[in-house]
């Protein structure tokens, strides 16, 4: 491994670190501390909002796992990845201005604040907080393991050292700067992700002798590589379409995404973010996955899918450009874990501690507690990631689909269906998580669709049936 590659990575890590630290100087104290620390005072502009949504959503799988799968399966996997275009506009359009306005009326800082005010039920709050803490904690640990392994593979330092460098820099700026540091660094990380995509795609097309040449070589090797069905014809239209639920519209139910829909400054910011977000997410997904397919012609015979991107970057690019490309997956991992870390910490402080343990806690104490809990959560993830326990790996399997199935209906129908009540929300949370775990373990990809589809349908049924029982309906017109 040479310094050409490492230098851009080091510069990237250091600049993210200092920008994160710098933003922490804006943290206000006093009555607005929680709003400021967990929501940046609802002041996000369009560009930052778009970037933080895309970067939080885009993880290591967009840059490492996804292109690796595209390398093996061909254009069919790029088609599947393009189901994610819809995330660029759908979440903001559906939660919309109503979510932002309601959040202001009830002074909500977290997603659970919204659910608490809407359903007025202790059980909704407790079940939501448990799902967020348990699933996102394990998801975060998995991402940190990914981040550590990435640094390890690029630089050759040991895994523990890599993990320390990686998590150390993220932890410091998240603890000190809160949401503002998270979103500003997300914006930088998003830009790095876009630049990395442009470079690797251009480099691979040039190395492969142009798109026409690449396509004819792919067709000569295995014609199925250029069909929508995948090299082994495993990608059925139904299976690929079901990803529109998992990585498309279902993303509305991910708490780390939906909390961003209450953080923007005004309608103009939301409008701009939808345009920028759609373009950026489409560009990254199309570019990175295409580069994976094209890489098959440039560098045939890679057995381990996760090695495709790193090897390809080192093959087709000069060292320093490869370094910039390899900063992209690192940026994707960092921008996901920083958001999730803050979300887990807000669930503990705002949703559990202030709601049920000490509602009259003093501001100064809340401030210290916020820094403290964020640090404790971060350090425990670090400790877990050094030698991840099996339970954590197991829980992470359910993090993405389980949270979507749990939260999508309590959020969306809570906003748009007046009849929806606490019984419906509780049923939806339990059925969503429970059926996802059950099906994932016993009948994965039932009926040829991704496992997430059925739990989302079942949790909808549970929400509607539950809401027809007698229960509290909102008695104000806030909702």
């Amino acid at each position: 491994m040479n310094w050409d590659v490492i230098l851009p990575l080091v510069i990237f890590l250091i600049s993210v670190f200092f920008v994160g630290i710098y933003t922490s100087r804006h943290i206000r104290s006093g009555s607005s501390f929680l709003q400021d620390y967990f929501l940046a005072g609802r002041e996000l502009g369009g560009f930052v909002l778009a970037m933080t949504m895309v970067a939080t959503y885009g993880s290591a799988s967009s840059f490492i796992g996804g292109p690796g799968a595209a390398y093996q399966l061909g254009l069919g996997w790029v088609l599947l990845a393009m189901a994610q275009l819809v995330t660029g506009y759908f979440t903001l359009a559906v939660l919309g201005k109503k979510f932002a306005i309601v959040a202001r009326k009830i002074n909500a800082v977290t997603l659970i604040d919204f659910l608490k005010a809407r359903y007025e039920s202790k059980w909704v709050v407790i079940l939501s907080a448990i799902s967020i803490v348990v699933f996102l904690f394990s998801a975060m640990a998995a991402q940190w393991v990914g981040g550590g392994r990435l640094i390890e593979s690029f630089t050759g330092v040991s895994y523990t050292t890599a993990l320390f460098i990686f998590s150390g820099s993220v932890l410091v700026y998240v603890i000190a700067g809160g949401f503002r540091a998270v979103v500003i660094t997300d914006a930088i990380q998003g830009v790095v992700m876009v630049i990395g995509t442009i470079i690797i795609l251009a480099g691979t097309i040039i190395a492969g002798g142009g798109i026409e040449n690449i396509m004819s070589e792919l067709r000569a090797e295995n014609p199925n590589l250029i069909t929508p069905y995948g090299s082994d014809q495993s990608l059925t239209p139904l299976y690929v379409s079901s990803f529109w639920i998992l990585v498309g519209v279902g993303v509305v139910g991910l708490p780390q995404i939906s909390v961003r829909a209450m953080s923007y400054r005004n309608a103009k910011a939301m409008h701009r973010a939808m345009i920028i977000g759609t373009f950026v997410v489409g560009f990254i997904m199309l570019g990175m996955h295409l580069a994976g397919v094209f890489g098959r012609v440039v560098l045939p015979g890679i057995e381990v899918p996760d090695k495709v991107m790193p090897l390809l970057a080192l093959e087709v690019l000069p060292g320093w450009l490869a370094g910039i490309v390899l900063a992209a997956p690192l940026a994707a991992v960092m921008s996901t874990v920083d958001s999730v870390l803050l979300l887990v910490s807000s669930a503990i402080i705002k949703d559990v501690y202030i709601n049920y343990i000490k509602p009259d806690a003093e501001e100064q104490f809340v401030k210290k507690l916020s820094f403290g809990i964020t640090a404790v959560v971060g350090l425990s993830v670090f400790a877990m990631a050094i030698n991840p326990p099996d339970l954590l790996i197991w829980l992470n399997l359910f993090a993405f689909g389980g949270l979507e199935a749990a939260f999508i209906w309590p959020i969306v129908l809570g906003l748009y269906w007046k009849r929806g009540n606490a019984n419906g929300a509780i049923a939806s949370l339990i059925v969503g998580v429970g059926s996802y775990m059950f099906l994932h373990l016993n009948y994965p990809n039932l009926w040829g669709m991704h496992t997430v589809v059925l739990p989302i349908v079942l949790s909808l049924v549970a929400y509607i049936v539950g809401s027809f029982t007698k229960g509290v309906r909102p008695h104000t017109n806030t909702f």
Binding site: V86, K98, I101, N266, N477
Partner: protein
């Protein structure tokens, strides 16, 4: 608390429906081109800029078209409403932040 539903929610409801309709159109475009053109035997494939036509229309043109449609939707159909209302002055419009 004033009577009736907040007038801004009607705007928001309409926009949520528009976003959902756009997502459905997006899916139809993506699916129809991918499996309509891509479902034929490989010998009959045509190519545009090097790409098989199914991929070109479904993924590349689809990406460009729907980015433009989002821009049109937001620019011409979405309404700028104030987020923080003075309760006594609630019909005021514009980009109050």
């Amino acid at each position: 608390m004033k009577k009736g539903t907040d007038w801004r929610y009607r705007v928001s409801n309409r926009e949520a429906i528009m976003g959902t309709v756009l997502a459905i159109l997006n899916f139809i475009w993506w699916y129809a081109f991918a499996y309509g053109l891509g479902g034929r035997p490989i010998k009959e494939y045509t190519y545009i800029l090097g790409f098989p036509s199914w991929f070109f229309y479904s993924c590349i043109v689809g990406f460009v078209v729907f980015t433009i449609l989002v821009w049109i939707m937001v620019k011409f159909f979405f309404k700028e409403v104030p987020f923080e209302l003075d309760e006594t002055n609630e019909n005021e419009e514009g980009d109050v932040g």
